[in-house]
Symmetry: C2
Subunit: 202 residues, 2 copies
Amino acid sequence: MARRTRARRGEGDKLRQEILEAAHALLVETGSQDAVSIRAIADRVGVTPPALYMHFPDKDQLFFELCESYFQNFAGALEDATRSVDDPVESLKRAGEAYIRFALENPEHYRVLFMSGGGTPPDRELTELAGFRCFMALVEQVQKAVDLGKFRPVEAFPTGVVLWASVHGLASLLITDDHFPWPAVETLIRNQIETTIGGLLA
Amino acid sequence: MARRTRARRGEGDKLRQEILEAAHALLVETGSQDAVSIRAIADRVGVTPPALYMHFPDKDQLFFELCESYFQNFAGALEDATRSVDDPVESLKRAGEAYIRFALENPEHYRVLFMSGGGTPPDRELTELAGFRCFMALVEQVQKAVDLGKFRPVEAFPTGVVLWASVHGLASLLITDDHFPWPAVETLIRNQIETTIGGLLA
DNA sequence: TGTACATCAGTGAACGCGCGTTCACTGATGTAC
DNA sequence: TGTACATCAGTGAACGCGCGTTCACTGATGTAC
C-alpha cells in the first residue's frame, strides 16, 4: 500500500475529495455499490480504512454523497439539452435523447440512480425527490404539447410515465444486456423516441 | 435448526427439490441472488450446508437451475397469451401485456432474468439464448404486421427492440421504484402498449 | 428368519477469506511563550 | 529565534460477522448370505 503524505491542518477536504473520487472509480470498475468496500477505497487512496471515518460517518453516507453528485450531472445533462427549446415536442425529443445518452455514457451512475432497486434509505429519498422534479418538468412539456394541439388530448401525468418508461427501457436494456446483437445505437435511440412520440401526436 | 429425517435410498431428488424451493423462497424474500447464501438455504431446508454439495456442484449451478425454471415460466406466459391469436397487432399487444404482468407478478424472477446485469456466466447464456428466441418470435409478428400493411414499413428487428424496451421500461420502473406515485397499473399498461403500437400503425 | 456387511446421504468441524467498524495510539503540524 | 506543548489526521491491531467450500466421519438404510 502506497503511503501518502499526511494532510496539512486545513487540508482535510483534500483527502475527503480523494476518497469520493476513489469510490467513484471503484464503482465504475465494479458496477455495484455492494462490490466497493471501504477497505478497497482506502487502499486506492493510500490510507488505512479507519481514516475514512474521519470524513464520513459510515459507508452509506459516503455513497449517498456520491449519488448526490451523480444526480446533479444527470439533471444538468437534461437541462442542457432542453435549454432554449421552445417547442414542447422538440424539447421532449431532446430530453429523451439526452436521457439515453447520459445512461450509456455513465452506465454505472445510471445503474446506481435508476436500477439499483432497494438502495440505502438516504439514496432513495434523494433519487425520489430530485428525480420527481425532473419527471414533473417532463409532465409540464407533455401538457404544453396537448394545450398547443400537437399531442392528442392525453392525460399528462400517465403519459409522462409512458415517455419515461420508453427511454428508461432502452437505456437499461442496453446497459444490462452486453451480448444481445443490438442494431446501431443511433438507430435505436431515434426509433425509440420517434415511435413513442409518434404514438402521441394529434 | 430443525432436523429432517434422512432420505431413503432412492429419494435423493426429494432433498434436491426442497433445496431449489428454499432457494426460490429466499430469493423472493431478499430480492437478490447475492443475498441468498448457501447457509441460509441449508438452514431453511433443515440440513447442514455441505449437504447441498451432494446435489449441486456449486452455488452458481444451483441458481442456474433456478433461472432455467423461471425462464420456462416466463416463456410459457407469453405463449399462453398469444396462442391462437391470428392478428399480429393483437398478438403483439397481448404479448406486451403478458410480459408486463409476468414481471409484476414475479418481480424477483424478472429481476434475475432481465435486470441482474452481470450475472453468472451460465445464467447469461441461458437468458440470452432462450430470451433471444422469444425476441425473434416478436420480430416475426412485427414483420407480419408490416407485410399485412397494418404497420408502417419499418425494419422488423430494430422495431422489435422498440417494443421490448417499451414494456421492459415500464415493468422495470414499476419493480424498482416503490415510492413513486404511480397512476393505476392498468392505465399504465394500456397507455404504454397503445402508445407504442400506435406509433407504428400505418 | 437372522446376522454381517456395504453403501452413501448427511454431519460437524474447520479452512481461509473479506467485510464494516471500534479503539487506543502516534507523531507531524502548528501555536504560545 | 528557540523550546515546550496542544492538536488532531491518520495508524495498527483487533472485534465479531457471514461467506463458499473441503474433508474425514457417522450411522441409518438396504442387501447378501
